[in-house]
């Protein structure tokens, strides 16, 4: 009694999808898509939303190294790159912190000694060293001395002076005044002044000839003796206090590295996926459905409605989409959701209207439509319940395949600096990487990781789309 399925039968969406996921390419795309969907759902658990919101806030990223590679780069280069070391004297649990306060008898003043001791066993020099001060004082500014002690016993005076602010930072390897101390140290060891030194190398190199540049210096690793940052302070008030946070910035960070503003690229990748997916899917689905509905209405109602819709479609089709979009984004600086709205508004009428119009012209002569009219179904019911399901199974492969087009559109607008400036999207990271000269300087992770996410999204949807097309469109079936 049951007829076997044959070419030319009408597929429901569900059956088409089930068929598609049975093929190899369909399965592959299902796996990739499932991965992206899981990431999208749990994006908040992987990386907190605040981090993405603070994308443009430099304060939020100050503890991260600049332009660090992903941690797995250690395996590629088979070299143990330095991780970032953070030691904060406020954290009294930390065994690396020694803080001694000696009150001067009979007075309110006291002297404080803070030592932050750490091991260093990496194969490369750190990228930067900074010391963050948090000083509480009354009328009299405390006197501060900062020393760098290497495991071989050499001691460098990095800073000596008054704390003028409550919060300030010594950029030891960047601030010219502080770097000058290192020049003096090298001069002391060499007996002459070097023209150029690499500050972070000097701090971590074996003392002796060639310690001023990374090419000639050797990393001084710790065994028994450790590196020490020693801070001596004379405080003059009863409630005065001083705390020090040392950050030795590494050269690798996290899964995806960082960019030139210390931002974690992984954050942008994790939050870029749900945004790219929803942008692509929402744009593609709503544009196709709206156009299909207009096409169906044109064919169903005919006459003036048909004329109006067909002419509007012709007008829309000659409007240059991208230039207008660029002008709008340039003038209004759209957020990504406004951009989505504009993209949809600019695509209300288009090629799908014409395709579906001719398809529905054919469907409406079918006798089941005539039957529906005869048992009293209203026009809307016929269009929505009888015609649209037929139409959707036809446009579905197209919907799936055009998702990547909209993902790329967002990325392309970001590349033109017309994307959402407030939130990290994949396109924005790629755009930043190009502006930051990533390709020129070889910061490969900055370009490759976000682009590969976009490419995987595109591949997954394209594979699924082609597979569905083969199933729904019998002409494409293999003989």
């Amino acid at each position: 009694m049951v007829e076997t399925s044959e070419a030319g039968e009408v597929f429901t969406l569900k059956r088409a999808l089930i068929e598609a996921f049975k093929t190899k390419s369909g399965m592959l795309s299902a796996i990739i898509l499932a991965f992206f969907i899981i990431v999208s759902i749990f994006a908040g658990n992987i990386v907190s939303y605040d981090k993405a919101l603070n994308w443009n806030n430099p304060k939020a990223w100050e503890e991260l190294p600049r332009l660090a590679m992903p941690e797995w780069a250690c395996m590629i280069y088979s070299k143990n790159f330095p991780r970032t070391i953070i030691i904060d004297s406020r954290n009294t649990e930390d065994y690396r912190v020694i803080k001694v306060r000696t009150p001067v008898p009979g007075r309110n003043s006291s002297s404080v000694l803070i030592e932050e001791v750490f091991e260093y066993e990496y194969d490369d020099f750190p990228s930067e060293v900074s010391v963050f001060f948090d000083v509480k004082f009354g009328d009299i500014q405390p006197k501060i001395e900062v020393y760098w002690v290497k495991p071989d016993g050499s001691e460098i005076l990095l800073f000596k002076g008054l704390a003028k602010l409550h919060n300030f930072t010594l950029y030891i390897t960047k601030d010219p005044k502080l770097v000058e101390k290192l020049y003096e140290y090298v001069e002391e060891v060499y007996g002459h002044r070097e023209e150029y030194i690499a500050p972070s190398v000097v701090l971590f190199a074996q003392t002796g000839e060639g310690m001023h540049t990374p090419e000639t210096a050797k990393v001084l690793k710790t065994d028994v003796e450790k590196y020490k940052l020693r801070v001596k302070a004379d405080l003059y008030g009863k409630d005065d206090d001083i705390n020090v946070k040392l950050i030795v910035y590494g050269k690798v960070h996290g899964f995806a590295g960082t960019d030139d503003r210390r931002r974690d690229i992984f954050v942008a990748m994790v939050w870029g996926i749900p945004i790219a997916l929803s942008f692509g899917v929402v744009a593609s689905v709503s544009i196709s459905l709206i156009q299909a509905l207009f096409g169906a209405m044109a064919a169903w109602y005919g006459g003036a409605v048909d004329n109006a819709i067909s002419r509007l479609t012709e007008i829309y089709m000659i409007i240059p989409f991208l230039p207008i979009l660029i002008v709008i984004s340039f003038i209004y600086r759209l957020t990504i959701w406004m951009l989505l709205l504009v993209v949809v508004a600019l695509s209300l009428f288009g090629g799908t209207v014409l395709t579906i119009r001719s398809l529905v012209m054919q469907i409406k002569t079918e006798s089941y439509i005539e039957a529906a009219i005869s048992y009293g179904a209203s026009s809307w019911r016929i269009v929505l319940i009888y015609i649209m399901p037929r139409v959707i199974s036809v446009i579905f492969p197209g919907i799936v395949m055009s998702v990547p087009a909209y993902v790329f559109l967002e990325a392309a607008l970001a590349l033109l600096n017309l994307g959402d400036p407030t939130f990290p999207t994949l396109g924005k990271v790629i755009s930043d990487s190009l502006n930051g000269g990533a390709v020129y300087h070889g910061y490969w992770w900055w370009v490759l990781l976000p682009s590969s996410v976009i490419i995987f999204i595109a591949v997954a949807f394209a594979l699924l789309g082609y597979t569905l097309d083969k199933i729904v469109n019998p002409k494409l079936r293999e003989q």
Binding site: E3, E9, G302, A371, A372, S374, Y375
Partner: protein, 320 residues
């Protein structure tokens, strides 16, 4: 008692580029409650157009649509506006079984949902209840429960035809129009469906308008037979009379062309082609193919005369 449906002077013309197609031209007949009227004739004679005119499934290019269609002696259906007609008449009073059940079912909607559709549309019945009633109607046409969740392509031709009949019955209509309900079925299935239709008619007191080109099939079900030719009704009468004592030469030829099993009868055919309905022949429309055509037939349209009880013929041969 007034007849359940009375059609008076019905016209339906279609506009084409070459001129108006006079598909239904001054057709009148009556349908009694609980009886079957068979509308027979060759392809293109206006059978289906008559039904289109009664059920108002008018195409966009309709150019002339007039006459009276009186339901139960009271309501003139032609005077109702489209919305009232849709709400009050469609499927509540008059339902229809379409030609080619294969195409009359939506391929992407399950059988249950489809049979229940009229209920949901007209009475706003909740879906579960509608499906429950669909199940009952399907039982009535002897279909098992499981078809409710099947799609049309999973059923055989006979099953689909039963589904379409069930769908026509779900709102308890008075009149069911059967538009060639068995034309695409094999003879066994055809016999099954015909028996089903007979049983339903008796049990539910239905009135049928049965459209077919097959006279032998019509004789199975019909109480009265109306023969159409070229957009006109040429002979109407009780089935017995039409089969045993046909008066119009066209009816005679039509009966003569029905094959019988294992007899040595030479099958007759009617020479010539069906008339062009844009420019129908003057006088009697059958005269170019009629062996008895006289001069008068070529010039004047014959009147309708009563030749027996309730037996009307439109032919000069029967009116002097």
């Amino acid at each position: 008692m007034a007849p359940i449906l009375e059609v008076k002077n019905l016209y339906l013309y279609y506009r084409t580029r070459k001129g108006d197609v006079k598909a239904v031209d001054d057709v009148s007949f009556t349908l009694e409650k609980g009886s079957t009227l068979a509308l027979v004739g060759e392809s293109g004679c206006g059978k289906s157009s008559t039904v289109i005119a009664i059920t108002r499934l008018l195409p966009r290019n309709t150019s002339r649509y007039e006459g009276k269609v009186i339901l139960e002696g009271k309501t003139d259906l032609m005077k109702l506006d489209d919305e009232t007609f849709r709400r009050e008449i469609r499927w509540r009073k008059i339902s229809m079984v379409f030609q080619g059940a294969f195409n009359a079912l939506n391929p992407v909607i399950t059988i249950g949902d489809q049979v229940a559709e009229p209920l949901i549309i007209h009475d706003n019945v909740p879906k579960e209840e509608a499906l429950e009633r669909a199940k009952k109607v399907l039982e009535y046409v002897r279909l098992p429960d499981y078809v409710l969740t099947r799609y049309p392509h999973e059923l055989s031709g006979g099953m689909k035809q039963r589904v379409v009949i069930a769908m026509a019955l779900i709102m308890n209509p008075d009149i069911v129009i059967l538009d060639e309900p068995t034309s695409a079925l094999d003879v066994i299935t055809q016999a099954n469906i015909m028996n089903l239709l007979k049983r339903l008619k008796k049990e539910l007191l239905l009135s049928y308008i049965f459209i077919t080109h097959d006279l032998s099939l019509a004789s199975e079900l019909a109480d009265r037979v109306a023969v159409m030719y070229g957009g006109k009704l040429v002979e109407v009468g009780p089935a017995e009379e039409i089969y045993n004592n046909p008066k119009h030469p066209y009816t005679v030829k039509l009966i003569g062309s029905v094959p019988t099993l294992r007899t040595d009868k030479k099958l007759e055919f009617i020479p010539g082609t069906p008339p062009n309905l844009i420019n129908p022949p003057p006088g009697c429309r059958f005269h170019p193919r009629c062996p008895y055509a006289k001069d008068k037939c070529r010039k004047e349209e014959p009147p309708v005369v009563e030749v027996g009880k309730d037996h009307y013929v439109m032919c000069w041969l029967n009116s002097g």
